[in-house]
Symmetry: C2
Subunit: 226 residues, 2 copies
């Protein structure tokens, strides 16, 4: 939709991968709509996933005992977070929709993207207890997980080898996104592209493209398990 | 137990933290028993969490399109993984029990520890489909998650603000550890040490110490949700 701002947080090493194609299609389709798109290409940026002292500029709040959560919160309040984090904060603040594009690694996101969550979504920026969930600081923004899997759909069903996909989604959608106040849109799951025929891979891409055409009309999901 | 080998994979920036104390107590108690203990202190090692081309020494299997899973698997077979990964493999191979000690970040482990999972537990080393779960390559080893939380126990109950702790454990215990064949021991959860009185903190440490005295007699848990 013309004028809408979108941030795509993208984690794949290879532009020619299915994840690379899904990201490219999102950029293309949303651009056609007149959206303004920013991509955080985490591998390309060599994004730092580790939560360390380096994230805080200048003096620590408590130099005697380093507590990342406390220090990041204080630094956020005082404008003393490292430049890369301030930059991600600017991108998130502007965005009306944040799309996370990644391959599922070990029933979750890759470490480089988990590091984005750990370092960017700090207290004072994304939440501030009791300001969480519907009163989280990122409320009125939409977020969506778009990911590929190694296994096929059957493997992610109840009793399947990887277990019910809902249990895999829960910590990411409810535990992170919803906690920060995001309105979570249904996940876009591309199952087992590596084992799919070319035609099936094309369909995965075109179904994502088609969905994006009406993405602004979508209602959030509830994110809860029962 | 005398002669037993234990690996502690530890992720905290501050030795004086509760995580640092829990790690220290495990080293002390297991040493008393005559166990041989190795600690992978991830922040101290500046452990790399990102899955990149650098993990593979020499030529790629497919230089045209980088696929981390495929490349790591091939490199594992051919002894071409980077030195830091070979070193972690040696430690895991020797260990009869692996303890993961970390603070819960965003309903999961910190990115630096997720990176350990992503990079160390590669195909060919930890699993090799259909060799997974009871036939996973790390079978006959025990593993245990020991972690601290920000919120109290009530927040991690059904209907609590952070949701049922079982849903948080699932991707880590079933999705990772059990998938690789580990016999998973019950998690050791230290709730909200930052908000606890000194006496409560002492109790968290002493209950861990006490449990470790009979850890070798414990039976694995089932890891499944229903």
């Amino acid at each position: 939709m013309a004028g809408k701002k979108v941030l795509i947080v993208y984690a794949h090493q290879e532009p020619k991968s299915m994840n690379g194609s899904l990201k490219a299609i999102a950029v293309e389709e949303l651009s056609k709509q007149g959206c303004s798109i920013t991509v955080s290409d985490l591998y390309e940026m060599q994004f730092e996933p580790r939560t360390t002292r380096k994230d805080i500029i200048g003096e620590l709040y408590n130099p005697e005992q380093f507590n990342y959560g406390v220090e990041a919160w204080e630094a956020c309040k005082n404008g003393c977070l490292s430049e890369d984090l301030k930059e991600e904060h600017r991108k998130v603040k502007e965005a009306e929709l944040v799309i996370f594009q990644f391959p599922l690694y070990w029933s979750s996101m890759p470490a480089i993207m988990k590091g984005w969550m750990d370092r960017v979504l700090v207290q004072g920026f994304a939440h501030n207890l009791p300001k969480c969930h519907e009163s989280g600081l990122l409320k009125n923004k939409k977020a969506l997980l778009s990911f590929t899997t190694g296994g096929d759909k059957g493997m992610f069903s109840k009793g399947g080898i990887s277990g019910d996909i809902r249990y895999i989604l829960w910590p990411m959608q409810y535990g992170i996104l919803r906690f920060c106040g995001f309105d979570v849109l249904a996940p876009q799951i591309s199952f087992a592209p590596e084992h799919a025929a070319l035609e099936e891979r094309r369909q995965m891409l075109s179904s994502w493209e088609k969905r994006l055409k009406t993405i602004w009309e979508e209602k959030p999901i509830t994110c809860i398990l029962e």
